[in-house]
Symmetry: C2
Subunit: 202 residues, 2 copies
Amino acid sequence: MPDKSPANKTPDATRRSERSRRAILDAALELVGEVGFTKLTIEAIAARAGVGKQTIYRWWPSKAAVLFEACVPEGVDPAAIELPDTGDLEADLKTVLRATVDELTSERLEAATRALTAETQNDAELGRALTAKVLEPQLQAYVRRLRAAQRTGQVAADIDLRIALELLVGPLFHRWQTRTLPLTHAYADTVVELTLRGLAPR
Amino acid sequence: MPDKSPANKTPDATRRSERSRRAILDAALELVGEVGFTKLTIEAIAARAGVGKQTIYRWWPSKAAVLFEACVPEGVDPAAIELPDTGDLEADLKTVLRATVDELTSERLEAATRALTAETQNDAELGRALTAKVLEPQLQAYVRRLRAAQRTGQVAADIDLRIALELLVGPLFHRWQTRTLPLTHAYADTVVELTLRGLAPR
Protein backbone atom coordinates (compact mmCIF):
# COMPACT_ATOMS: atom_id res chain seq x y z
CA MET A 1 0.00 0.00 0.00
CA PRO A 2 1.54 3.31 -1.01
CA ASP A 3 2.66 5.77 1.62
CA LYS A 4 0.16 8.58 1.25
CA SER A 5 1.93 10.91 3.67
CA PRO A 6 3.69 13.70 1.83
CA ALA A 7 6.23 14.18 4.63
CA ASN A 8 9.22 12.84 2.74
CA LYS A 9 8.12 13.64 -0.82
CA THR A 10 7.69 16.70 -2.92
CA PRO A 11 4.03 17.54 -3.70
CA ASP A 12 4.61 16.49 -7.33
CA ALA A 13 5.97 13.08 -6.34
CA THR A 14 3.00 12.51 -4.05
CA ARG A 15 0.59 13.36 -6.85
CA ARG A 16 2.41 11.02 -9.25
CA SER A 17 2.31 8.23 -6.64
CA GLU A 18 -1.40 8.64 -6.11
CA ARG A 19 -2.00 8.63 -9.87
CA SER A 20 0.02 5.42 -10.25
CA ARG A 21 -1.73 3.81 -7.35
CA ARG A 22 -5.17 4.55 -8.82
CA ALA A 23 -4.04 3.32 -12.27
CA ILE A 24 -2.79 0.05 -10.75
CA LEU A 25 -6.04 -0.60 -8.85
CA ASP A 26 -8.14 0.18 -11.94
CA ALA A 27 -5.97 -2.05 -14.13
CA ALA A 28 -6.26 -4.91 -11.63
CA LEU A 29 -10.06 -4.62 -11.57
CA GLU A 30 -10.30 -4.54 -15.35
CA LEU A 31 -7.92 -7.44 -15.88
CA VAL A 32 -9.40 -9.79 -13.30
CA GLY A 33 -12.76 -9.30 -14.98
CA GLU A 34 -11.21 -10.11 -18.36
CA VAL A 35 -8.95 -13.06 -17.58
CA GLY A 36 -10.00 -14.28 -14.11
CA PHE A 37 -7.89 -14.48 -10.98
CA THR A 38 -5.74 -17.45 -11.96
CA LYS A 39 -4.40 -15.85 -15.13
CA LEU A 40 -4.03 -12.40 -13.60
CA THR A 41 -0.34 -11.40 -13.27
CA ILE A 42 1.52 -8.50 -11.72
CA GLU A 43 3.26 -8.05 -15.10
CA ALA A 44 -0.07 -7.56 -16.89
CA ILE A 45 -1.33 -5.14 -14.23
CA ALA A 46 1.90 -3.12 -14.52
CA ALA A 47 1.67 -3.02 -18.33
CA ARG A 48 -1.98 -1.94 -18.29
CA ALA A 49 -1.30 0.71 -15.63
CA GLY A 50 1.79 2.00 -17.40
CA VAL A 51 4.11 1.44 -14.44
CA GLY A 52 7.06 -0.82 -13.77
CA LYS A 53 6.24 -4.05 -11.95
CA GLN A 54 8.69 -3.10 -9.18
CA THR A 55 6.34 -0.21 -8.38
CA ILE A 56 3.60 -2.74 -7.66
CA TYR A 57 5.86 -5.07 -5.68
CA ARG A 58 7.03 -2.13 -3.58
CA TRP A 59 3.48 -1.38 -2.46
CA TRP A 60 1.70 -4.74 -2.38
CA PRO A 61 2.89 -8.26 -1.48
CA SER A 62 0.64 -10.11 -3.97
CA LYS A 63 -1.99 -9.75 -6.69
CA ALA A 64 -4.61 -10.67 -4.11
CA ALA A 65 -3.55 -7.71 -1.96
CA VAL A 66 -3.88 -5.37 -4.95
CA LEU A 67 -7.39 -6.67 -5.64
CA PHE A 68 -8.50 -6.44 -2.02
CA GLU A 69 -7.58 -2.77 -2.00
CA ALA A 70 -9.24 -2.24 -5.39
CA CYS A 71 -12.49 -3.71 -4.02
CA VAL A 72 -12.71 -1.28 -1.12
CA PRO A 73 -14.24 2.04 -2.17
CA GLU A 74 -11.68 4.82 -2.48
CA GLY A 75 -10.83 6.54 0.78
CA VAL A 76 -12.79 4.06 2.89
CA ASP A 77 -11.27 2.32 5.90
CA PRO A 78 -13.16 -1.01 6.08
CA ALA A 79 -12.90 -1.05 9.87
CA ALA A 80 -14.56 2.39 10.09
CA ILE A 81 -17.61 1.61 7.91
CA GLU A 82 -20.90 2.58 9.54
CA LEU A 83 -24.43 2.08 8.20
CA PRO A 84 -26.65 5.16 8.13
CA ASP A 85 -28.70 5.69 11.29
CA THR A 86 -31.52 8.18 10.75
CA GLY A 87 -33.62 6.41 13.38
CA ASP A 88 -35.72 4.80 10.62
CA LEU A 89 -34.32 1.27 10.37
CA GLU A 90 -36.32 0.27 7.29
CA ALA A 91 -35.29 3.37 5.32
CA ASP A 92 -31.65 2.98 6.36
CA LEU A 93 -31.48 -0.69 5.35
CA LYS A 94 -33.12 0.05 2.01
CA THR A 95 -30.48 2.70 1.35
CA VAL A 96 -27.72 0.20 2.11
CA LEU A 97 -29.15 -2.76 0.18
CA ARG A 98 -29.97 -0.60 -2.86
CA ALA A 99 -26.32 0.48 -2.86
CA THR A 100 -25.29 -3.19 -2.70
CA VAL A 101 -27.52 -3.90 -5.71
CA ASP A 102 -25.83 -1.04 -7.57
CA GLU A 103 -22.36 -2.37 -6.74
CA LEU A 104 -23.15 -5.96 -7.70
CA THR A 105 -24.57 -4.86 -11.04
CA SER A 106 -22.09 -2.07 -11.80
CA GLU A 107 -20.24 -2.43 -15.07
CA ARG A 108 -16.97 -1.45 -13.43
CA LEU A 109 -17.10 -3.97 -10.59
CA GLU A 110 -19.30 -6.91 -11.61
CA ALA A 111 -16.75 -8.98 -13.54
CA ALA A 112 -14.10 -8.43 -10.88
CA THR A 113 -16.49 -9.32 -8.07
CA ARG A 114 -17.53 -12.52 -9.86
CA ALA A 115 -13.90 -13.48 -10.51
CA LEU A 116 -13.02 -12.93 -6.86
CA THR A 117 -16.12 -14.80 -5.70
CA ALA A 118 -15.07 -17.71 -7.91
CA GLU A 119 -11.54 -17.71 -6.59
CA THR A 120 -12.69 -17.66 -2.97
CA GLN A 121 -14.45 -20.96 -3.67
CA ASN A 122 -11.36 -22.50 -5.28
CA ASP A 123 -8.93 -21.17 -2.68
CA ALA A 124 -10.20 -21.36 0.89
CA GLU A 125 -7.25 -19.40 2.27
CA LEU A 126 -7.85 -16.48 -0.11
CA GLY A 127 -11.56 -16.70 0.70
CA ARG A 128 -10.95 -16.44 4.42
CA ALA A 129 -8.58 -13.48 3.91
CA LEU A 130 -11.09 -11.62 1.73
CA THR A 131 -13.87 -12.33 4.22
CA ALA A 132 -11.75 -11.09 7.13
CA LYS A 133 -10.43 -7.95 5.44
CA VAL A 134 -13.29 -6.80 3.22
CA LEU A 135 -16.53 -8.54 4.20
CA GLU A 136 -16.36 -8.94 7.96
CA PRO A 137 -15.98 -5.19 8.71
CA GLN A 138 -19.14 -4.59 6.67
CA LEU A 139 -21.01 -7.34 8.52
CA GLN A 140 -19.93 -5.84 11.83
CA ALA A 141 -21.42 -2.52 10.71
CA TYR A 142 -24.74 -4.32 10.16
CA VAL A 143 -24.52 -5.81 13.64
CA ARG A 144 -23.95 -2.37 15.18
CA ARG A 145 -26.88 -0.83 13.27
CA LEU A 146 -29.19 -3.71 14.23
CA ARG A 147 -28.08 -3.49 17.87
CA ALA A 148 -29.04 0.19 17.88
CA ALA A 149 -32.43 -0.88 16.50
CA GLN A 150 -32.80 -3.38 19.35
CA ARG A 151 -32.22 -0.55 21.82
CA THR A 152 -34.96 1.56 20.19
CA GLY A 153 -37.35 -1.41 20.12
CA GLN A 154 -37.45 -1.90 16.31
CA VAL A 155 -35.81 -5.33 16.49
CA ALA A 156 -36.73 -7.97 19.08
CA ALA A 157 -34.21 -8.25 21.90
CA ASP A 158 -33.71 -12.03 21.53
CA ILE A 159 -32.66 -11.99 17.85
CA ASP A 160 -29.19 -13.27 16.89
CA LEU A 161 -27.94 -10.27 14.91
CA ARG A 162 -25.39 -12.28 12.91
CA ILE A 163 -28.31 -14.30 11.55
CA ALA A 164 -30.47 -11.20 11.09
CA LEU A 165 -27.92 -9.57 8.80
CA GLU A 166 -27.60 -12.74 6.73
CA LEU A 167 -31.36 -12.67 6.13
CA LEU A 168 -30.78 -9.25 4.56
CA VAL A 169 -27.67 -9.81 2.45
CA GLY A 170 -27.99 -13.54 1.68
CA PRO A 171 -30.95 -13.26 -0.73
CA LEU A 172 -29.26 -10.50 -2.75
CA PHE A 173 -26.08 -12.49 -3.26
CA HIS A 174 -28.06 -15.64 -4.06
CA ARG A 175 -30.03 -13.92 -6.83
CA TRP A 176 -26.88 -12.26 -8.17
CA GLN A 177 -24.87 -15.46 -8.23
CA THR A 178 -27.55 -17.69 -9.69
CA ARG A 179 -28.78 -15.09 -12.21
CA THR A 180 -32.33 -16.37 -11.72
CA LEU A 181 -34.18 -13.05 -11.81
CA PRO A 182 -33.26 -9.36 -12.09
CA LEU A 183 -31.51 -7.78 -9.11
CA THR A 184 -33.33 -4.47 -8.60
CA HIS A 185 -33.98 -1.80 -5.99
CA ALA A 186 -37.57 -3.05 -5.71
CA TYR A 187 -36.23 -6.50 -4.85
CA ALA A 188 -33.92 -5.04 -2.19
CA ASP A 189 -36.85 -3.12 -0.71
CA THR A 190 -39.02 -6.24 -0.45
CA VAL A 191 -36.23 -8.23 1.18
CA VAL A 192 -35.88 -5.48 3.80
CA GLU A 193 -39.64 -5.27 4.43
CA LEU A 194 -40.19 -9.03 4.82
CA THR A 195 -37.08 -9.50 6.93
CA LEU A 196 -37.98 -6.66 9.31
CA ARG A 197 -41.44 -8.15 9.83
CA GLY A 198 -39.67 -11.28 11.05
CA LEU A 199 -37.29 -9.37 13.31
CA ALA A 200 -39.90 -7.11 14.92
CA PRO A 201 -40.78 -7.51 18.62
CA ARG A 202 -44.00 -9.48 19.08
CA MET B 1 -27.00 -39.98 -20.53
CA PRO B 2 -26.98 -43.79 -20.62
CA ASP B 3 -29.99 -45.65 -21.90
CA LYS B 4 -31.31 -47.33 -18.78
CA SER B 5 -33.96 -49.37 -20.59
CA PRO B 6 -32.95 -53.00 -20.79
CA ALA B 7 -35.03 -53.60 -23.95
CA ASN B 8 -32.12 -54.03 -26.31
CA LYS B 9 -29.52 -55.31 -23.89
CA THR B 10 -28.88 -58.46 -21.94
CA PRO B 11 -29.35 -58.06 -18.16
CA ASP B 12 -25.58 -58.38 -17.66
CA ALA B 13 -24.85 -55.60 -20.15
CA THR B 14 -27.35 -53.33 -18.44
CA ARG B 15 -25.76 -53.98 -15.08
CA ARG B 16 -22.28 -53.27 -16.48
CA SER B 17 -23.55 -50.02 -18.05
CA GLU B 18 -25.06 -48.86 -14.79
CA ARG B 19 -21.84 -49.68 -12.94
CA SER B 20 -19.80 -47.70 -15.49
CA ARG B 21 -22.20 -44.80 -15.34
CA ARG B 22 -21.98 -44.62 -11.55
CA ALA B 23 -18.16 -44.90 -11.68
CA ILE B 24 -18.00 -42.03 -14.20
CA LEU B 25 -20.22 -39.74 -12.11
CA ASP B 26 -18.26 -40.51 -8.94
CA ALA B 27 -14.94 -39.94 -10.73
CA ALA B 28 -16.16 -36.60 -12.10
CA LEU B 29 -17.23 -35.43 -8.64
CA GLU B 30 -13.94 -36.47 -7.06
CA LEU B 31 -11.80 -34.92 -9.78
CA VAL B 32 -13.57 -31.57 -9.99
CA GLY B 33 -13.05 -31.23 -6.26
CA GLU B 34 -9.35 -32.04 -6.67
CA VAL B 35 -8.39 -30.01 -9.76
CA GLY B 36 -11.28 -27.59 -10.37
CA PHE B 37 -13.51 -27.33 -13.41
CA THR B 38 -10.98 -25.76 -15.78
CA LYS B 39 -8.44 -28.56 -15.43
CA LEU B 40 -11.02 -31.34 -15.40
CA THR B 41 -10.81 -33.50 -18.54
CA ILE B 42 -12.88 -36.33 -19.99
CA GLU B 43 -9.62 -38.31 -20.24
CA ALA B 44 -8.98 -37.99 -16.50
CA ILE B 45 -12.58 -38.94 -15.67
CA ALA B 46 -12.32 -42.02 -17.91
CA ALA B 47 -9.01 -43.06 -16.37
CA ARG B 48 -10.32 -42.66 -12.80
CA ALA B 49 -13.54 -44.53 -13.65
CA GLY B 50 -11.70 -47.30 -15.47
CA VAL B 51 -13.61 -46.86 -18.73
CA GLY B 52 -12.63 -45.74 -22.22
CA LYS B 53 -13.22 -42.09 -22.98
CA GLN B 54 -15.48 -43.07 -25.88
CA THR B 55 -17.86 -44.52 -23.29
CA ILE B 56 -18.20 -41.07 -21.76
CA TYR B 57 -18.54 -39.29 -25.12
CA ARG B 58 -21.26 -41.76 -26.12
CA TRP B 59 -23.40 -40.79 -23.11
CA TRP B 60 -22.61 -37.12 -22.45
CA PRO B 61 -21.80 -34.19 -24.76
CA SER B 62 -19.39 -32.42 -22.35
CA LYS B 63 -17.72 -32.52 -18.96
CA ALA B 64 -20.32 -30.01 -17.73
CA ALA B 65 -23.10 -32.43 -18.66
CA VAL B 66 -21.40 -35.22 -16.69
CA LEU B 67 -21.10 -32.95 -13.65
CA PHE B 68 -24.71 -31.75 -13.85
CA GLU B 69 -25.90 -35.35 -13.69
CA ALA B 70 -23.45 -36.12 -10.89
CA CYS B 71 -24.89 -33.26 -8.83
CA VAL B 72 -28.45 -34.52 -8.99
CA PRO B 73 -29.13 -37.19 -6.37
CA GLU B 74 -29.28 -40.70 -7.80
CA GLY B 75 -32.64 -41.67 -9.25
CA VAL B 76 -34.06 -38.15 -8.90
CA ASP B 77 -35.77 -36.38 -11.78
CA PRO B 78 -35.13 -32.67 -11.01
CA ALA B 79 -38.45 -31.71 -12.59
CA ALA B 80 -40.30 -34.06 -10.25
CA ILE B 81 -38.78 -32.84 -6.96
CA GLU B 82 -41.38 -32.04 -4.30
CA LEU B 83 -40.82 -30.65 -0.82
CA PRO B 84 -42.44 -32.56 2.04
CA ASP B 85 -45.95 -31.45 2.92
CA THR B 86 -47.05 -32.73 6.31
CA GLY B 87 -49.26 -29.67 6.80
CA ASP B 88 -46.68 -28.20 9.21
CA LEU B 89 -44.79 -25.65 7.08
CA GLU B 90 -42.16 -24.86 9.69
CA ALA B 91 -41.30 -28.50 10.29
CA ASP B 92 -41.23 -29.24 6.55
CA LEU B 93 -38.90 -26.33 5.75
CA LYS B 94 -36.58 -27.27 8.61
CA THR B 95 -36.36 -30.78 7.18
CA VAL B 96 -35.44 -29.39 3.77
CA LEU B 97 -32.94 -26.76 4.92
CA ARG B 98 -31.24 -29.19 7.30
CA ALA B 99 -30.77 -31.52 4.32
CA THR B 100 -29.29 -28.60 2.36
CA VAL B 101 -26.85 -27.96 5.20
CA ASP B 102 -25.87 -31.64 5.12
CA GLU B 103 -25.28 -31.51 1.36
CA LEU B 104 -23.26 -28.31 1.43
CA THR B 105 -21.02 -29.63 4.18
CA SER B 106 -20.79 -33.26 2.99
CA GLU B 107 -17.29 -34.52 2.37
CA ARG B 108 -18.34 -36.16 -0.88
CA LEU B 109 -19.98 -33.09 -2.44
CA GLU B 110 -18.49 -29.95 -0.91
CA ALA B 111 -15.38 -29.60 -3.07
CA ALA B 112 -17.35 -30.34 -6.24
CA THR B 113 -20.09 -27.89 -5.32
CA ARG B 114 -17.54 -25.16 -4.62
CA ALA B 115 -15.73 -25.82 -7.91
CA LEU B 116 -19.01 -25.65 -9.83
CA THR B 117 -20.08 -22.52 -7.96
CA ALA B 118 -16.77 -20.92 -8.91
CA GLU B 119 -17.11 -21.90 -12.55
CA THR B 120 -20.65 -20.53 -12.78
CA GLN B 121 -19.20 -17.13 -11.84
CA ASN B 122 -16.44 -17.35 -14.44
CA ASP B 123 -18.69 -18.74 -17.18
CA ALA B 124 -22.12 -17.12 -17.35
CA GLU B 125 -23.40 -19.60 -19.95
CA LEU B 126 -22.50 -22.59 -17.80
CA GLY B 127 -24.03 -20.79 -14.82
CA ARG B 128 -27.32 -20.25 -16.59
CA ALA B 129 -27.40 -23.88 -17.73
CA LEU B 130 -26.74 -25.20 -14.21
CA THR B 131 -29.36 -22.86 -12.79
CA ALA B 132 -31.93 -23.96 -15.36
CA LYS B 133 -31.29 -27.71 -15.11
CA VAL B 134 -30.39 -28.27 -11.47
CA LEU B 135 -31.39 -25.25 -9.37
CA GLU B 136 -34.58 -23.95 -10.95
CA PRO B 137 -36.58 -27.20 -10.55
CA GLN B 138 -35.72 -27.11 -6.84
CA LEU B 139 -36.77 -23.47 -6.54
CA GLN B 140 -40.07 -24.31 -8.27
CA ALA B 141 -40.64 -27.00 -5.65
CA TYR B 142 -40.26 -24.32 -2.95
CA VAL B 143 -42.78 -22.13 -4.77
CA ARG B 144 -45.33 -24.99 -4.88
CA ARG B 145 -44.87 -25.78 -1.17
CA LEU B 146 -45.21 -22.10 -0.21
CA ARG B 147 -48.28 -21.72 -2.42
CA ALA B 148 -49.90 -24.63 -0.57
CA ALA B 149 -49.07 -22.79 2.67
CA GLN B 150 -50.78 -19.67 1.34
CA ARG B 151 -53.91 -21.75 0.73
CA THR B 152 -53.87 -23.01 4.31
CA GLY B 153 -53.26 -19.51 5.67
CA GLN B 154 -49.72 -20.07 6.97
CA VAL B 155 -48.20 -17.58 4.50
CA ALA B 156 -49.76 -14.20 3.71
CA ALA B 157 -51.57 -14.12 0.36
CA ASP B 158 -49.70 -11.07 -0.96
CA ILE B 159 -46.19 -12.49 -0.59
CA ASP B 160 -44.01 -12.90 -3.72
CA LEU B 161 -43.06 -16.56 -3.34
CA ARG B 162 -39.91 -16.26 -5.46
CA ILE B 163 -38.64 -13.76 -2.92
CA ALA B 164 -39.89 -15.83 0.01
CA LEU B 165 -37.84 -18.84 -1.05
CA GLU B 166 -34.72 -16.72 -1.46
CA LEU B 167 -35.11 -15.54 2.15
CA LEU B 168 -34.84 -19.21 3.10
CA VAL B 169 -32.00 -20.44 0.90
CA GLY B 170 -29.99 -17.21 0.45
CA PRO B 171 -28.64 -17.01 4.01
CA LEU B 172 -27.46 -20.64 3.94
CA PHE B 173 -25.49 -20.19 0.74
CA HIS B 174 -24.08 -16.89 1.95
CA ARG B 175 -22.73 -18.44 5.14
CA TRP B 176 -21.38 -21.45 3.25
CA GLN B 177 -19.65 -19.37 0.61
CA THR B 178 -18.15 -16.78 2.91
CA ARG B 179 -17.16 -19.30 5.60
CA THR B 180 -17.97 -16.71 8.26
CA LEU B 181 -19.57 -18.99 10.86
CA PRO B 182 -20.46 -22.69 11.12
CA LEU B 183 -23.32 -23.93 8.93
CA THR B 184 -25.43 -26.06 11.28
CA HIS B 185 -28.92 -27.49 11.68
CA ALA B 186 -29.56 -24.96 14.46
CA TYR B 187 -28.72 -22.17 12.02
CA ALA B 188 -31.11 -23.59 9.41
CA ASP B 189 -33.85 -23.82 12.05
CA THR B 190 -33.42 -20.17 13.07
CA VAL B 191 -33.49 -19.00 9.44
CA VAL B 192 -36.78 -20.85 8.96
CA GLU B 193 -38.31 -19.47 12.17
CA LEU B 194 -37.38 -15.82 11.52
CA THR B 195 -38.38 -15.99 7.85
CA LEU B 196 -41.77 -17.55 8.60
CA ARG B 197 -42.50 -14.78 11.13
CA GLY B 198 -42.02 -12.32 8.27
CA LEU B 199 -44.19 -14.31 5.85
CA ALA B 200 -47.09 -14.91 8.24
CA PRO B 201 -50.46 -13.22 7.64
CA ARG B 202 -50.88 -10.14 9.83
